[in-house]
Every structure is written in C-alpha cells, then in structure tokens.
C-alpha cells in the first residue's frame, strides 16, 4: 500500500458526459470510470433518471497528485462558466502503480 493516488469524483448531469470525457483526454489521464446514479438531490432540485436531462453520473478518475492539480485547474474553468460540477476527492492507495496515473 505504498502507492498514493487521488480519487477524483465528479457528480454531473449525464448531458455533460461527453464534456467530461473530453476533459479527461485533454488532461491526459490513464483512464476513467462512469457510474450512472439513480437519484440525486441538490441545489438544482431532484433528479430521478426519467430522461437524460434528469440523470446524474459519477465520473471518477484515479490519478496522481500532479494530474489532480491539473484536473482541478481545468474543472475550475468549467465551473466558472456556470456548469454545476460537484467535485470531491478521496485519498486512495493502488495495488499497482502503473494501473492508475
């Protein structure tokens, strides 16, 4: 358990999924995972997955600290254009250094 990584989690409406993928490619992360969410409640109201505009995804990347810093800078730009990305970051250990970067 020596390999520290940052687990960057973004909760965002599924309409912005392609935007997130482009972001990940721009920053050049080694991978990402997308999980659909059934229901979400927040400042923009209840989202219940009845249609694409009403659905959240969890966009998750496990990356190095450096990549995380780049990522945060890019996310900030998107947030500045009023896109409501909800971002939280967990410390994580990875079994294989080369799996996630």
């Amino acid at each position: 358990m020596e390999y520290n990584r940052k687990q960057v989690n973004i909760i965002v409406n599924s309409a912005l999924e392609a935007k997130m993928v482009r972001l990940a490619n721009r920053v050049g992360v080694s991978g990402y995972s997308i999980t659909p969410m059934r229901t979400g409640q927040g400042s923009t109201g209840l989202q219940t997955s009845s249609s694409e505009g009403d659905s959240n995804i969890l966009f998750m990347m496990i990356i190095t600290f450096d990549k995380m810093e780049q990522m945060i800078a890019e996310i900030q730009k998107i947030k500045d254009r009023s896109y409501p990305l909800r971002v939280f970051i967990n410390d994580t250990y990875v079994m294989d250094e080369k799996d996630f970067h």
């Binding site: 309409a15 997955s49 009845s50 505009g53």
Partner: protein, 328 residues
C-alpha cells in the same frame, strides 16, 4: 365534450402513476425503463411521420413545415418576453424555459392522438411531420437568447469578453440532439424504405405503440408527481406561466392551423396541442449544455410537473372543444 372522452388508457395510466406517488406508493420503474420507452416512442412516431410524408402532397407538406418553423421560432420568443420583461424572471432562466415551451412534447401529442382515435375523429397527417420539425427551432432560439443574455451580462459587469458561441456549434446542438436524431432518422428511414420492406417492423412499432405509451405515461405520471414538491421554489410567476402559456400557445396554433393551413378539426386540434405542449425530454439536456447559468429545477418542474399534467387532463379536452367550436 363529455368526461368519458378522457377514459382512454393513456390518460388513465398517467393518472394512475400520478396517484401512486401522491399516496406515497413504493411503486418504482427500473432505471432506464422510461428512457427505453421514450426511444421506442420517438422511433414509432418517426415511422408514422415518414409514412405520412411519403404519402403527402408537396405543397401542403411544405406549408406545414413552414408553419412548424414559424411556430417553433415565434413561440419561444413570446415566452421569453413574457418571462423576462413582464415576469421579471432572470434572463438565463427565461431563455432556458422559453426554449422548452417553444419545443414540443411527443408524449402530450401522443395522448392527443389517442384522444382523437378514441372518438373516431380523423385528422391530417401533417402534424406528425410538424412534430419532428418543431423540436429544433426552439433550441436554436434558446441558444441565441443565451448569447444575448451573456452579452447583456457582460455589458452590465463592464466585462468585454463574453464567451462566444459559433453558429456551427449552435446548429450542432439543435440538430444532433438525441430526440431529434431519432425522430428525423426514423422518419427518413420510413420515407426511404419501400412499403414492403417496412412491413417487417410494423407489428413492433405500430401495434404495440399504444401499449408502450401506456407504460411510458404511467412512469411520467409518477415523475410529474415527484416534481410537485419543488413548486414552492418556482414562485407564482412561473406557476401562472406554466398554465397560461399552453393556452396561449394553443390559441396561436389554432390561428396557424385554421387560417393558414386550413386543417380539419382533428388537424387543428393536433397543431394546438403541439403549440401548447412543452418539451421535457429533448430540450432539458440541450439546455444543461447550452445555458448552464439557468436552474434546471425550474424548467423540469414547470414542463413535467405542471404543463404536461395540465395539458393531458385539462388542456386536451379544452383545446378540442375550442377547435370544434371554431372549425366544426
């Protein structure tokens, strides 16, 4: 207009879903079911439209398309002025909501068709083509309004560099929208495919259509009821708008369909419903992307929680009554 005309499965399943959530039933649809059903419905309606198109005469078809474009561009502008200038609703929220009301709800339109069918009332097939056309213009208007809004904001903040959006990406947003692609794509396919080849998919898309619609409306009834709690946040101006805008829309549709297009009662009624309805599937993701400054809970609450139920339960018989009075 008697009440029994509302005793059609589509409306009753909607009511059942609505009621289920009101009495706090734990009834739930699996994730993705509503989306799957709406994909089916859009393709089914697209096929209907394509068949209609292949049998249509050129001039009335062209006229319908033009009328659809006029309605699709004019009603969102009306809605925007109403909301922003009269109602003092924020400029971005006004733009986003306007786009929803300028676009159409396939679900509402289908209930209207079921309504006519249940009464044995015939109708022109042109409104089917108009439905496919009317999804996009309002999205474009919404984006243009947002650009305008951003430049207004920039002026206000003495900020000289509003994020600009190109004409190309604007059209892209409006024409690659998933619902638009399905509707226009299925329409084109049904138009191109020789009638004999199309037969193989007819049992699926035609005979099952109303059954699938009943399931979809059951789910949408539940979704509409879930949005009710959010009303308090919307405020009186928006709630009033969510009920009066459809009526105004219907009247505009009436004028266009009767005086311009010269449709029969059934056709006039369907155009009224198109103009009265507001999108809650195609437009929300487009606005999430294009006008992030607007609050999504406003437009989803209004269109799905208020206007959709209003149109299904009150609007449809009302518009039919009016169409009958004027045209019949």
């Amino acid at each position: 207009m008697n009440l029994s005309s509302l005793l059609i499965p589509a409306v009753l399943f909607f009511a059942l879903g609505f009621l289920a959530k009101l009495i706090k039933s734990d009834l739930k649809f699996p994730d993705g079911m509503a989306k799957g059903l709406s994909i089916f419905l859009l393709i089914g309606i697209g096929i209907k439209g394509g068949v209609a198109l292949s049998q249509a005469e050129f001039l009335p078809a062209l006229n319908s398309v033009l009328a659809a474009l006029v309605l699709g561009f004019a009603t969102p502008i009306l809605a925007f002025v109403w909301l922003n200038k009269l109602g003092k609703v924020g400029i971005f929220d006004s733009a986003a909501i306007a786009a929803h009301y300028g676009s159409v709800s396939a679900g509402t339109f289908l209930v209207a068709i079921a309504f006519l069918d249940s009464m044995g009332q015939t109708y022109e097939s042109y409104p089917l083509i108009m439905l496919a056309i009317m999804e996009s213009p309002a999205i474009i208007i919404g984006l243009l309004l947002a650009i305008y809004a951003r430049s207004q904001m920039a002026k206000l903040n003495n900020n000289s560099d509003p994020e600009s959006i190109s004409m190309k990406s604007l059209l892209h947003e409006a024409l690659t929208n998933g619902s638009v692609v399905l509707l226009l794509g299925a329409m084109l396919i049904a138009y191109l495919v020789p009638a004999d080849n199309l037969k193989s998919v007819i049992p699926f898309y035609k005979e099952m259509f109303m059954g699938v619609l009943s399931l979809f409306l059951l789910e949408m009834g539940m979704e509409a009821a879930k949005k009710i709690n959010e009303f308090k946040k919307a405020g009186l101006v928006l709630i009033t708008f969510g009920i009066t805008m459809p009526i105004v829309g219907a009247l505009i549709g009436l004028v266009v369909a009767h005086y311009w297009l010269g449709f029969s009662i059934g056709g006039v009624f369907l155009v009224m419903v198109l103009a009265a309805s507001a999108s809650y599937i195609a437009v929300p993701p487009a606005m999430r992307m294009a006008i992030p400054e607007a609050n999504p809970s406003y437009y989803l609450t209004l269109t799905l929680g208020l206007t959709f139920p209003f149109n299904v339960v009150v609007g449809i018989p009302l518009y039919y009554h009016i169409a009958q009075a004027l045209v019949g």
